[in-house]
């Protein structure tokens, strides 16, 4: 029987226990000040000072060559650091996109001068990146995007709008996808190019979008004749679609796709214990959650192993993301089932703060990084249905 998906096991060797202990010690110190509401933000928590401290310890750009400010360590070592950060709900947002996506993209296809200019800053936790993909008229149908790059003397002029860019108002740079040839109707995913954009450029306006949590995590960005030099074209002209897609297996299979709500669970366990007698429902729900976490971690590690071996497990990544985000979304509901907490946000009560934030935040988990419907479409194609 030939399956549409493969998950060969991939394990973290015991030699990395020391690194894990080091990260835990760092986090137990750093986490003293974090409220439950803060921790609920997980990798959407943006804290430059924290990112600089992480960079100083050599935990950003870990796998990149030392020549570019990296640390020449293995993908597994990076995984250990990342999963420890997520388990603690650390505010990694200021370096997350650069470490996970933009840096690796530049390393793979960026020019020598781009690598030298940007990678050391990302690795130091000094340069925060965001991704400019979606537009007001192009959400899941990304190939319909219209924002345009027009050739001018010495570079390009960018015009149009990008939306849902995470923390653009706090970030330094964006890697944006623009139409450099043809039209959305005819060329679709052909004729798109990626550019490195300084977010302080003139002609660029960033408007925060306040979301249902009452905070602004996203932005709309208006480009009005924003100039980028030729040196800031990423990779090849008109090849942006394939370049942007190649990143997605990384983006969709990391522990951030199943651990965003994880810090709720230890608190829920303690809440059940404090309530006195342990009831059967609580035990069952917690046991089920553990079975899901262990399974998702196995899947995520397997994909890491496949990526490290040079494969592109796009099916497995889509499948794991859908399962993982479903699990993340389940956790606040699980807490409701097993604790009798009132629907109030009690300052200082970590569980109630975190629960309140996550209840409002989890709907976006099956939207960001490709919606559930897009993931299921990819899986259906892999099954031979499309």
């Amino acid at each position: 029987m030939s399956a549409a998906f493969h998950y060969p096991p991939f394990e973290i060797p015991p030699e990395l226990d020391g690194l894990r202990r080091e990260v835990r010690a760092f986090l137990s110190e750093a986490s003293q000040q974090w409220s439950g509401w803060d921790i609920g933000h997980s990798w959407m928590g943006f804290d430059r000072a924290f990112s600089r401290a992480v960079g100083q310890r050599g935990w950003i750009g870990m796998t990149w060559p030392r020549a570019y400010g990296g640390h020449g360590r293995s993908a597994l070592e990076r995984y250990v650091v990342v999963e420890e950060m997520l388990a603690a709900g650390a505010p990694v947002g200021a370096h997350w996109v650069g470490d996970r996506q933009s840096g690796p993209l530049l390393l793979r296809i960026g020019s020598e001068s781009q690598k030298q200019r940007f990678l050391p800053k990302i690795a130091a936790g000094e340069a925060a990146f965001c991704i400019g993909l979606s537009e007001p008229g192009s959400g899941s149908d990304l190939a319909s995007l219209r924002s345009r790059a027009t050739r001018v003397d010495g570079g390009w002029k960018l015009n149009g709008r990008k939306i849902w860019t995470t923390y653009a108002e706090h970030c330094d740079f964006m890697i944006g996808l623009f139409r450099s040839q043809g039209t959305a109707e005819v060329e679709r995913h052909k004729g798109l190019s990626q550019f490195l954009i300084d977010l302080r450029s003139s002609g660029l306006e960033i408007r925060p979008i306040v979301d249902l949590t009452g905070e602004a995590h996203f932005n709309e960005i208006v480009f009005d004749d924003v100039f980028v030099s030729d040196a800031l074209l990423v990779g090849r002209e008109n090849e942006g679609w394939a370049q942007a897609n190649a990143e997605l297996a990384f983006e969709r299979s990391g522990p951030d796709r199943y651990m965003s709500s994880f810090p709720l669970l230890p608190l829920a366990i303690d809440a059940v214990c404090e309530a006195g007698t342990i009831d059967r429902l609580s035990a069952r729900r917690i046991g089920e959650a553990l079975a899901d976490i262990v399974t998702l971690r196995e899947m995520s590690l397997s994909i890491l192993g496949q990526l490290a071996a040079g494969h592109t497990p796009a099916q497995e990544a889509a499948l794991t993301k859908d399962l993982g985000t479903t699990f993340e979304q389940r956790l606040p509901e699980l807490v409701r089932e097993i604790t009798d907490n009132a629907p109030v946000i009690s300052a200082g009560d970590k569980l109630s703060e975190m629960q309140a934030y996550l209840m409002q935040s989890v709907p976006s988990y099956s939207l960001r990084g490709g919606t559930r419907e897009i993931m299921r479409g990819i899986i259906a194609r892999g099954l031979g249905l499309r």
Partner: protein, 358 residues
Amino acid sequence: MSSAAASDAGAEIADLLGDQLARLFIKKVTREALAAAEQGRFDIALWKEITDIGAASALASEAVGGAGLSWAQAGGLLQSLGAHAPPVPLGETMLASWMLALAGIEALGAPLTVAGGLLQVDGEGRVSGEDALLSWAPHAAAIVAVAQGAGGRQLVLLATADAELTAQRTLDRLPAARVAMRGVQPLNIAPAPTVLGATGLLAPLAVLRAQQLAGGLAQVLALCVDYANTRSQFGKTIGKFQAIQHQLAELAELTAAAQVAAGYAARQLDSGNADSAERGAAVAKIRAGLSATRGAAIAHQVFGAIGTTDEHILHYHTRRLWQWRDEAGSEAWWAEWLGHRLLAAGGAELWSGIVSRD
């Protein structure tokens, strides 16, 4: 031989054995064969062909003439038992032979079955107790069980003829019985292997069922995809409808999760550590059971009315999913078992428990 070379050789043997068995199952385990088995006919010819290949002792060590495969290496083979559902106690005999070899007890070369429940053994070595549901007991020459005694847990081999059997009807309609032992002198007895924890043989039996569930789900997924690509309504094959595509994508997710969880449990059993083995069994049986529950529902929805008919093959697979998910501890039972341990350890221990290897 180095352990790496041994592991390569094991993988090769597992592949060969798996191919041979798959060919045999495709040829012999037809709908007619399944229907005959469910009417009570034991396919002794099929059993003989399987044992001639050496499959029954695949997990038993080479020292006793087995193939010495690890549970991880045998994963594909065990899943094929779930996918094709050969109506013989092959998985049970493999597990029993593995256990007997570990305990230094000679196997019988006959169909065996495995009791998940704990029995008692008295000072004179006589075994008593009950197992509410022992699959294949009516056709097994002997039962492998764990019995608790003053001197600790013992692995016992009991002649089925010495036990009282009360036939039980089950959803998979295969031979099964409530089994009672009253002071039975075992054929053989030895200290229980250290890979077994307080749950005794329930843990490896749960891993076996989880592998079968994963294989059964993969088969059901393949049947569904094939049907969705051939059945036409409204002028197109139903697989072109997004509503069907998304249900089958979910079934694929559930299948993958069951496979991965079963594979994880197999590696935990191979570690030889009883705590790891039990934890792995819990994870696998919970995840595979939940997958089977939702997966069987999706499959029946996709197949529509035809999938509910007796003449269709689908129910031979879905009835087994419903049977296996409840055998060797349901997902709810294992979740409660696991949840109590996590609650006892406290929230601070949760994450370190997840990433630790023992």
